[in-house]
């Protein structure tokens, strides 16, 4: 990959040819505030928060600006700062001030840019506040859509289009009345939405927010237990409870993407129906028993049915190690090759 050298705020840095100024800056640990940019998506250039000055004369957004050899970029130019500040002030003036009760508090891109450009109560006071009043769409069991918090970065629309190719949502109406919605603004569950939650995962604010977002204490890298694709996941754990799942962006299989089952289908793990003790049938009914009792009963019976009277069915759900031992048990201990599983279903 060919490299070019450019200067941002006096800092000289190398960047891949064909990358954008914003990419170059972020790659070099240089933050340029931005809202509608997402690494997985084609730059849209709509929020205008990433404006910079190019070669000391031209104002441009950095997310669509290709790097050029010898380019000189300023993010601190007064004109840039003024445009950036008013733009963010406008967004905040039209955003509900409910951070304390917001699920994205402290993890919100709007908060981040606002504090970066130094928005103050004084500067905000001058503005006429107005927050769009639209009913929250809570039809989906996993996430809510709150238009009053939407900054119209379009990341959800582009995710549903560019990445998922589902197009359940798009821009609706125009101007200040623009919203993200479905045909006729029907509830999201009445659209072709597949509830994959990819848009929710990318929303920079809480316009698309999970219904439950308990804070996990640690994350464990693992593999999704559903279909054969084997998506890399990060299990969010709180105490002895799995409270969330995230796509693993480093995994080559799914690069962070998940489907509705993979992302939201984890609650069976801590479900009350889980079997927690062995059960043994006594007088026709299954009753709890100790491991010893249960295993001895099994051992006793299996010992009498070695060979062709016995068969084992392994599972396509359990690990390789589990399967290996079961077939070893069947072949070595039970002395038969009567082992199969539901590979064919």
């Amino acid at each position: 990959m060919k490299k070019v050298t450019l200067t941002i705020d006096g800092l000289q840095l190398r960047a891949d040819e064909g990358s954008t100024v914003l990419q170059a800056a972020l790659a070099n640990g240089l933050y340029i505030p931005n809202l509608c940019n997402h690494p997985d998506l084609v730059p849209a250039g709509l929020c205008r928060v990433c404006v910079v000055k190019v070669d000391d004369w031209k104002i441009s957004i950095s997310c669509k600006l290709p790097v050029k050899e010898g380019m000189v970029i300023s993010t601190e130019d007064p004109e840039v700062q003024r445009i950036r500040k008013s733009t963010v002030e406008l967004l905040v003036a039209n955003h509900p001030m409910t951070c304390l009760t917001c699920s994205r508090d402290a993890n919100c891109e709007l908060q981040r840019v606002a504090s970066y450009v130094g928005i103050t109560q004084e500067s905000l006071k001058r503005y006429r506040r107005s927050v769009r009043q639209l009913p929250i769409d809570s039809s989906n069991p996993f996430f809510d859509i709150d238009h009053s918090k939407c900054v119209l970065c379009g990341i959800c629309v582009r995710t549903c289009d560019e990445l998922q190719n589902i197009n359940a949502i798009d821009y609706v109406r125009r101007g200040v009345h623009t919203t993200v919605g479905t045909l006729g603004n029907k509830p999201i569950t009445q659209s072709c939405c597949e509830s994959c939650g990819e848009c929710v995962a990318r929303c920079p604010v809480a316009a698309l927010a999970p219904k439950e977002s308990p804070i996990s204490m640690r994350e464990v890298k693992s593999v999704c237990t559903y279909c054969g694709v084997g998506c890399g996941i990060l299990l969010g754990v709180r105490g002895e409870k799995v409270v969330g799942v995230r796509g693993d962006r480093d995994n080559p299989v799914n690069r962070g993407s998940l489907c509705v089952k993979g992302r939201y289908g984890f609650k069976f793990i801590n479900h009350p129906d889980r079997l927690t003790t062995p059960l043994v049938r006594k007088d026709g009914v299954l009753v709890p028993a100790s491991w010893d009792e249960a295993l001895e009963r099994v051992a006793a019976n299996f010992s009498e049915h070695k060979g062709e009277q016995f068969a084992a069915l392994a599972s396509a759900r359990i690990t390789n190690e589990d399967n290996y031992l079961i077939q070893k048990f069947t072949r070595a201990v039970m002395q038969t090759n009567n082992i199969d599983h539901c590979a064919r279903l």
């Binding site: 798009d170 609706v172 045909l183 659209s191």
Partner: protein, 151 residues
């Protein structure tokens, strides 16, 4: 409605870039764009339903609720504005008992405003269906409308 819709859509199977003309023709046929008509347009063209509505709701021409028999468009062009279009609009709203964008209960009139009819020299003016009423005063407006109703 089904048949009318199908006749309009017949020539457009898979023609995604004809969406706007399609919407115009469907609205001409049905008077407005019901949700299920837009869903049918999506199926015919192969566009996502959301895209059909996204485009339809972007343009001022398209309506999603039934319209009155007649449309009164009050011109809000600059010339009309400086010659008192505001007062014309208010008087029209008062006479019809509805506000801009609404339709009278008897489905006789739908009241809209338009950026400019292009009769600036004859400002202020309104357009009732295809006829332009020019050089109006608030008084004339109420007379014209009540006159139409009695006639």
């Amino acid at each position: 409605m089904e048949e009318r819709l199908q006749t309009v859509l017949a020539p457009y199977k898979g023609k995604r870039d004809m969406l706007i003309p399609i919407l115009q023709q469907v609205q001409a046929a049905l008077g407005y764009l019901p949700d299920d008509a837009m869903a049918e347009i999506a199926r015919t063209t192969g566009l996502p339903e959301s895209r059909v509505y996204a485009v339809a709701s972007f343009y001022a021409q398209f309506r999603f609720t039934p319209r009155g028999k007649h449309t009164i468009m009050v011109c809000r062009g600059t010339a009309c504005h400086v010659r008192g279009a505001e007062k014309i609009l208010e008087e029209t709203e008062r006479t019809l008992g509805i506000v801009e964008g609404e339709t009278t209960k008897d489905l006789e009139y739908t009241l809209e405003t338009v950026a400019c009819i292009g009769c600036c020299a004859l400002a202020p003016c309104i357009m009732i269906d295809e006829d332009v009423e020019a050089k109006l005063t608030p008084k004339m407006v109420s007379e014209i409308i009540t006159g139409r109703n009695t006639a």
